[in-house]
């Protein structure tokens, strides 16, 4: 039976359909979840997609973090269910305090959209086990408020405990401290990152590679990681 991965749609989500498509391309079954429900429909894992939930009012992700379904998502995450937050989803995870720190406006003040190189720093999480530590991958990045910040104590703890999952390579596109692009929690089931793996899952629609234009599919391994682990557990 295919792994069932829920993708939550909030008012203002943009990349929920792309995330569903990425799940299917990786061999999973995508399950549409709705922000206003209190029902996870028995899924095995959850994706909080990118976009501008609630128009980024108050703070990015702040209002979505208090939406009805997040009560179930937070409980499930604390019980070990794999949860991936992409871009606005990362902001929602931070606002839900499932991951530490905060995301603020890019230091240069502009929205940035580029194919971003990243280094995989932790390949033991639910969403990164198909990678190896040190892998260099390219996936699209597009954000206006992606600057990762935390106190020095928190940053030292994240580094010390190996909780930095991805780091920006070549350029730091948004002023994130210590080039942090993504994080995991201690248990490794919750991962959040600003770049968009779901946009690099099908040849013809991904970033350019040395082989061919738009052939990059480095994002596929996020989804295949969680599918492999779920199947291995059964």
């Amino acid at each position: 039976m295919a792994t069932r991965i829920g993708v939550v749609t909030f008012p203002g989500s943009l990349d929920d359909r792309d995330a569903q498509r990425a799940v299917r391309l990786a061999g999973g079954e995508a399950v549409a979840l709705w922000h206003g429900d209190h029902d996870l429909q028995g899924v095995d894992a959850i994706v909080l997609p990118g976009g501008f939930s609630y128009g980024d009012y108050l703070r990015c992700g702040a209002i979505a973090a208090h939406s009805p379904i997040m009560a179930e998502v937070i409980d499930a995450a604390n019980a070990g269910m794999p949860v991936l937050g992409i871009c606005n989803g990362f902001q929602i995870l931070v606002e839900s305090q499932l991951l530490p720190g905060g995301l603020i406006r890019n230091d240069h003040g502009d929205f940035v959209c580029r194919d971003q190189r990243l280094r995989v720093e932790n390949a033991s999480t639910a969403w990164t086990s198909a990678f190896s530590v040190g892998d260099e991958i390219t996936i699209p990045l597009k954000n206006g408020e992606g600057g990762y910040i935390a106190t020095d104590d928190t940053l030292d703890r994240l580094e010390g405990e190996g909780l930095v999952a991805f780091r920006y390579l070549d350029v730091n596109p948004n002023g994130s401290l210590r080039d942090i692009a993504g994080l995991t929690n201690e248990r490794g089931n919750v991962v959040g990152l600003m770049p968009h793996p779901e946009h690099a899952t099908e040849a013809g629609f991904g970033p350019d590679t040395a082989d061919a234009m738009r052939s990059g599919v480095d994002g596929l391994k996020f989804f295949s990681s969680v599918i492999e682990q779920t199947l291995a557990r059964v």
Binding site: P100, R105, N106, D107, H108, T151
Partner: protein, 81 residues
């Protein structure tokens, strides 16, 4: 209607790109007396009935836990408006 005003500012040690851009625009207009700008938020909470200590305490809690993110912002005022 009685109102409680909550003011939230980005933490002083953090870069405030919006404030910085505004300061740049002010300087370009020739207003040289102003060297920096920081931009925060003001919330006006309308209260049904009287503003009691309990209501103020609730507003303080809301300000710290929802209206601000203590990682990136400080609540600088919770006062009767």
């Amino acid at each position: 209607m009685p109102t409680i005003v909550v003011e939230v500012m980005p933490k002083p040690e953090l870069l405030d790109p919006a404030g910085k851009a505004t300061a740049g625009a002010i300087a370009k207009q020739g207003a040289s007396a102003f060297s920096a700008v920081r931009i925060g938020k003001r919330f006006e909470l309308t209260v049904e009935g009287e503003i009691t200590d309990a209501v103020l305490a609730e507003a303080q809690k809301l300000a710290e836990e929802f209206l601000s993110n203590q990682v990136i912002e400080d609540v600088v005022a919770v006062k009767v408006g």
